[in-house]
Amino acid sequence: MSTEALRPSSYLGEGAGPAAWLLTTDHKRVAWLYLMSLTAFFFLGGAFAVLMRVELATPAGDLVSDDTYNRLFSLHGIIMVWFFLVPSIPATLGNFLLPLMIGARDLAFPRLNLASWYVFILGSAFALASVLAGGVDTGWTFYTPLSTLYANGFVSMAALGVFIVGFSTIMTGINFIVTIHTLRAPGLTWFRLPIFVWTMYATALVMVLATPVLAASLILIVLERVFGIGIFNPALGGDPLLFQHLFWFYSHPAVYIMILPGMGVVSEVLPCFSRRPLFGYKAVALSSMAIAVFGFLVWGHHMFVSGQSAYAGVLFSFLSFCVAIPSAIKVFNWSLTLRKGEITFETPMLYALFFLALFTFGGLAGLFLAALAIDVHVHDTYFVVAHFHYIMVGGMVTAYMAGLHFWWPKLTGRMYSETWGRIAATVTFLGFNLTFFPQFVLGFIGMPRRYHTYPPEFQFWHVLSSAGAVVLAFGYLMPLFYLGWSMFRGPRAPANPWGATGLEWQTASPPPPHNFDTMPSVSRPAYDYAMKGLQHETFSPHKDEA
């Protein structure tokens, strides 16, 4: 009672109205700005995907025209990669949690943080303008000379949008690196950091060092389209393969921007619901850094049949197998974390276990693609599409949902319906596999990607995949409703509903404006679930709902 009166109001109640949100420099509010914008983009990109899957239910191109179809998959890719996946966990959960997890009042540069969101919105405005103006038909990869000389969509506008969003990514990256270096609480040494912070650090490094190379290649595309400077045009002495090298030099590390944060989330959730420390903490932490570094050396594996030297192909294949090792190590560590635990299966845990299954599956499929002779056959087929959707959607989006449910009480101060959460997680898992598993078979039997029409013998698998997409769409729509309900009507959450370790759980839910009433210090390693006094408060769920 008295503590209630003494406690300063939460960050949510600090000021209402648009101005209080749009001009905030509080990292927790900026996280919400991102969360709202990213949710919108996720469903926009998802809508494009559903339209594509409906079109592909029959071999003929009967729903949309070929130009429309090409725009659908291009925009789906551009939006999902740059306007959802790359910023997804870092800009929302990362933004919200990083200062809380290291015991800081805010990120090192709060105004830069807000600025990054405005830059993101500016970039999105360009991207959306290109959608409304008629779309882009280059694929998200912008390969030259198609994108520079032949494509008739609004390529420069979309490329400019992606270019601008790159700045917001770099700003976030710089902010995270500096924050982690300078603002850790007393006693919070590097090897006491939660893995989520480690993965944010690795992600931020990749963001800062790889995004400029993407910027460079997009600048060159725009220069070629608008100013006629022919860097990639073979007729002007340029080289179209040069673009692929530059593009993948960014976009392969970007794949790790899109999965490392997911690994971080799962490394928080699994120990919490197993009531066990993370197995092999140091190996998991260091393997994140190894992935970030090795990720810069494998871009050529997207180009085995592009006409680059065969010996370059062999080298890139070798390095690609090397980058698989740190991921394998993580999977083993996560699995062994469960051993001798006290395991419960709340929604975040279900999502985390589904992540483990889908990520492992997608990762194993990656071995096929890294093996040169097989890649020649399945490159640019649905096998590749299935592989990266298992990692990006099955992995990253599932981890994103795990994280969103895990920290939802901290974000909003309210609980959601556990029953609906479990149903949604299960529906997503089933729908996902039904959508993408058939695509492995399709790829192996030779179905090329980005095809508007296809030979009739492939139809069976396409129908399965399209049916799965509908189920998957339901799985993703459900949280919109029960989380939306929870935001206003959900029962109040305690400070630490899951009995989790980590500094973010030691402050109120939702946290006060400057995070901690008394600044914390740390004297124990991460995931110290043997610690006395930590209780899993939801062993009897919904006690507040009654």
Binding site: D67, L146, P277, L278, V331, S335, K340, T344, A371, D380
Partner: protein
């Protein structure tokens, strides 16, 4: 095949079997590992569910020997798969000698092929069974990719350079030909069929295609029409290199370097003659950039290659 649902692509080339061998071995390995990990997780999830009576003493948060063991094991397995895949892949670089060379040209949105005898076909490719076929690929506009799933081959056709793909069809039949690299509006329509037929049928089919000139003969006509012969013939007044036997031969350049006259060199010499000037000659040749299109380039290259009959079959020189 079961109920008409395809689970595997047809195996119709000399390499398909060995690629599939690797594929299925890898499939067995990944399935075993996947099932092992899944069972382990499910087993732990059930055994150590909250409230179960399972024994929980002796828990550990790390085990160095175990971690070292699985890291080393993963590495070794990865290296084996890598080596196997790479060994199969490198065969792409070394087609058997005595091959049939067909020129393939990708353009938005069709494949155009020309047989050595000059027979031309669009979105159809007829090849003899049991004979090495090299398709030399060029592109008129954007990047395309020649993909025949039944042969397990794929190669991008990149504007401004010539690439090669080779295969030996070993099963007569009609197989899908696709463009695998997204190339614009009608990308999914860019393809057709490869028909593999017994050699005698192939010969008969060639005979029925009408007597077109051979690619090399067309190239020779072009060589004269464009005025190349005016300088490059022995009787000519202008001093230009004699092109007999040029293909595959080392050429000394003015800048003291030596290059092998491969397809890249010949193509560049036609389009950008001033780039690499043969030693002892004046840089007087005009550029044919914009005058010769990719189809004509293929004819000229075929003609130049026909001037050195022995080297033309040695395709390694072109890589």
């Amino acid at each position: 095949m079961s109920f008409g649902i395809p689970f595997t692509p047809p195996e119709a080339s000399s390499i398909a079997g060995s690629v599939d061998m690797l594929f299925y071995t890898l499939l067995a390995f990944t399935a075993a590992l996947g099932i092992f990990l899944a069972s382990l997780v499910v087993f732990y999830a059930i055994k150590y569910r909250a409230g179960s009576k399972a024994e929980r003493t002796g828990e550990r948060a790390r085990s160095l020997p175990l971690e070292v063991a699985w890291t080393v094991a993963s590495l070794l397995i990865a290296f084996v798969i890598f080596g196997w895949g790479a060994a199969l892949f490198l065969r792409r670089e070394h087609p058997p000698l005595d091959a049939l060379e067909i020129a393939g040209l990708g353009k938005q949105w069709m494949w155009e092929f020309r047989h050595p005898g000059g027979q031309r076909e669009i979105n159809e490719l007829h090849v003899p069974v049991g004979k090495t076929v090299i398709v030399s690929l060029a592109s008129q506009d954007v990047i395309h990719s020649f993909f025949v799933p039944a042969f397990r081959v794929k190669q991008d056709a990149v504007p401004g350079r010539t690439t090669h793909v080779w295969f030996i069809a070993d099963e007569p039949g009609r197989y899908h030909l696709f463009c695998a690299q997204y190339c614009g509006t009608q990308h999914s329509e860019m393809g057709g069929w490869v028909t593999a037929m017994p050699p005698e049928d192939y010969a008969a089919w060639l005979g029925n295609q009408g007597k077109g000139d051979t690619l090399a003969a067309d190239g020779e006509k072009l060589f004269r029409a464009l005025g190349c012969s005016g300088c490059h013939e022995k009787s000519s007044k202008v001093r230009a290199p004699d092109l007999a036997g040029i293909f595959g031969r080392p050429v000394a350049l003015e800048n003291q370097q030596t290059v092998v006259a491969d397809e890249r060199y010949l193509r560049d010499s036609i389009l950008e003659p001033k780039k690499e000037i043969a030693a002892g000659y004046d840089p007087v040749m005009p550029s044919f950039d914009g005058i010769v299109d990719e189809g004509e380039m293929q004819m000229l290259l075929a003609y130049l290659k026909s001037l050195s009959p022995r080297a033309a079959t040695r395709n390694e020189a072109t890589q």
